[in-house]
């Protein structure tokens, strides 16, 4: 294991932020710490980096107990949401910082920094200052800076959180590809479930300072441990006291076995997918169908339809 966190507790004043958190991160993996704001995910990342001290519990990095080790001695690269660019230094000097501190020979530094700048596509901007870069470029610079010292683990705290949607999507794909090239054990924090599912091999869900569930994106999506996880990872709707995915609901005009009748209240066409809002058993629900299905059924507000979960649909019984 590259990172082993055991029974970590951390409070800020009287507020507990992490409660008995244990976590294993496999060497070479790309793990997402996912959860709502205030769930403790950033604090956990900072505890791993040594930027916060846990009240109790231990952190081991590559088998070495790092709990009381200063951040500069942990072999950890850290990327901040707001870049933390050294604004008085050029892009080149920013990336070179960790190597200069280690007093590596000048030629070696130059070679390594240029390699990294090529990796993050900033080789032409080496002499710029951070204030002359866009947000996405600054974050790529920060990533190159963290990679320069060949960290054993790379930690990213909401790395794309400050960027606009378009750049965020690009950088996500790019991070995934970068990880496939560099293979450094990576942990990133995000509150965006789509980002976690798209980029990570392993998702660890944190809420209320506790690990709620962990597993591959597929496992966590298909077998959510509780309604909270199910709601957090994707769209849900309620059908007969069960929580189901709206794309796992079958809709038909004729009564079906095990189905329940519903009244269509609204049909919203969102490009390829169509969102059918219904009233079933006195509460509101919705079903996601394809355009083709909607056209075939000729759904209109006021129609009566019959709903049931598709065979094999994942659902959770809601406690009454």
């Amino acid at each position: 294991m590259a990172i082993e966190v055991r029974d970590v507790n951390k409070s800020f004043g009287a507020t507990p932020v992490l409660r008995d958190v244990s976590l294993d991160v496999a060497a070479g993996s790309l793990t997402a710490l996912l959860g709502p704001s205030g769930g403790g995910k950033s604090t956990l990342l900072r505890v791993i980096a040594g930027l916060e001290q846990p009240d109790t519990g231990t952190v081991r990095i590559s088998g070495v107990d790092a709990t009381r080790l200063a951040p500069q001695r942990r072999g950890v690269g850290f990327v901040f949401q707001h870049y933390a660019a050294f604004k008085h230094l050029t892009v080149f000097r920013n990336v070179a910082f960790g190597l200069e501190v280690r007093k590596r020979p000048k030629d070696e530094i130059r070679k390594r920094v240029m390699e990294l700048l090529e990796l993050v596509h900033l080789e032409k901007l080496a002499d710029r200052y951070p204030s002359q870069l866009s947000g996405g470029q600054r974050q790529r610079m920060a990533l190159a800076r963290a990679l320069a010292v060949e960290p054993q683990v790379l930690l990213l705290d909401e790395p794309f959180g400050a960027l606009d949607a378009q750049v965020r999507k690009e950088l996500r794909t790019w991070l995934r590809r970068l990880h496939d090239e560099v293979h450094v054990t990576t942990v990133f924090v995000t509150h965006d479930q789509e980002e976690a599912i798209e980029v990570a091999d392993t998702i660890v869900l944190l809420a209320g300072g506790e690990v709620v569930q962990s597993g591959s994106p597929g496992e966590v999506y298909d077998n959510p441990a509780n309604p909270f996880v199910m709601r957090f990872l994707g769209p849900v709707t309620e059908l007969d006291g069960n929580l189901v995915r709206p794309h796992d609901v079958e809709i038909s005009q004729d009564p079906v076995e095990g189905g329940s009748s519903a009244l269509v209240s609204r049909v919203v066409k969102l490009g390829f997918e169509v969102r059918v809002e219904v009233e079933v058993g006195g509460h509101e629900a919705w079903v996601q169908v394809t355009r083709e299905q909607a056209d075939r059924l000729d759904l209109k507000p006021g129609d009566t339809v019959h709903l049931r979960p598709v065979p094999g649909a994942r659902s959770l019984v809601l406690a009454v």
Binding site: R73, F78, F80, A84, K87, H88, Y129
Partner: protein, 259 residues
Amino acid sequence: MAGGTAAGLGVVVMYLSLIVLIPLAAVVWRSMDDGPGYFWRSITAPDAWAALSLTIGASALVALLNLVMGTIIAWVLVRDRFPGRAVLETIIDLPFALPTIVAGLVLLALYGPQSPLGVNLAYSRVGVVLALMFVTLPFVVRTVQPVLLELDKEMEQAAASLGAGPFQTFRRIILPNLLPAMLSGTALAFTRAIAEFGSTVLISGNLPFKTQVAAVNIFSQIEGDNTTGAAAISTVLLVVALVALVTLDLLQRWGKRRG
């Protein structure tokens, strides 16, 4: 140029001319009344020269002390939490608020011949330096403080995670970001110190060749009816101040280009 802008610019130029530029030009003009030879003799007269060297030397020393101490004070005020911080915040501004002659009185009472501490600095150059330190204390503190408040703490954490120890982080990350503010505060403290009159006049005793500062020398020249000589010494102070301010401006531009 829009009409509003032109009118605004006109008002600014006229105001600055009336309040600053014309009086200053008049002083420089007056200093040349009896020709450059007299100008030169005025400023190289032994008492004037001694007063000028003392003023510029003491001001430079005080500016350097401020550079170090002001930065430390600003650091403690911003980064440390301790009881009485708010009181300290207010005390920093006291030298700005106090009439300088009052400052002189206080210093004389504390460090004069009747010093309750047994430290007598009256009529000594140390007394002059002390008075200048008192009145210039806020400059560096107040220029560095806002920059330090704005300084991104994550830069320091990033430096630590990249392997820099506390000293390396200070030297390579914090200091370069504070330097423009530190230097501009120092330049302001220096220009303030070379013009100081009220606070030094009591404790220094104004002994020519020993503790008389330039501003007091100018005053005594005027009392001796030598306005041209007074204007000449004033002109030297003006030029020194201008050089300090231009240097400050260049430093700030340099800082901004990097920022």
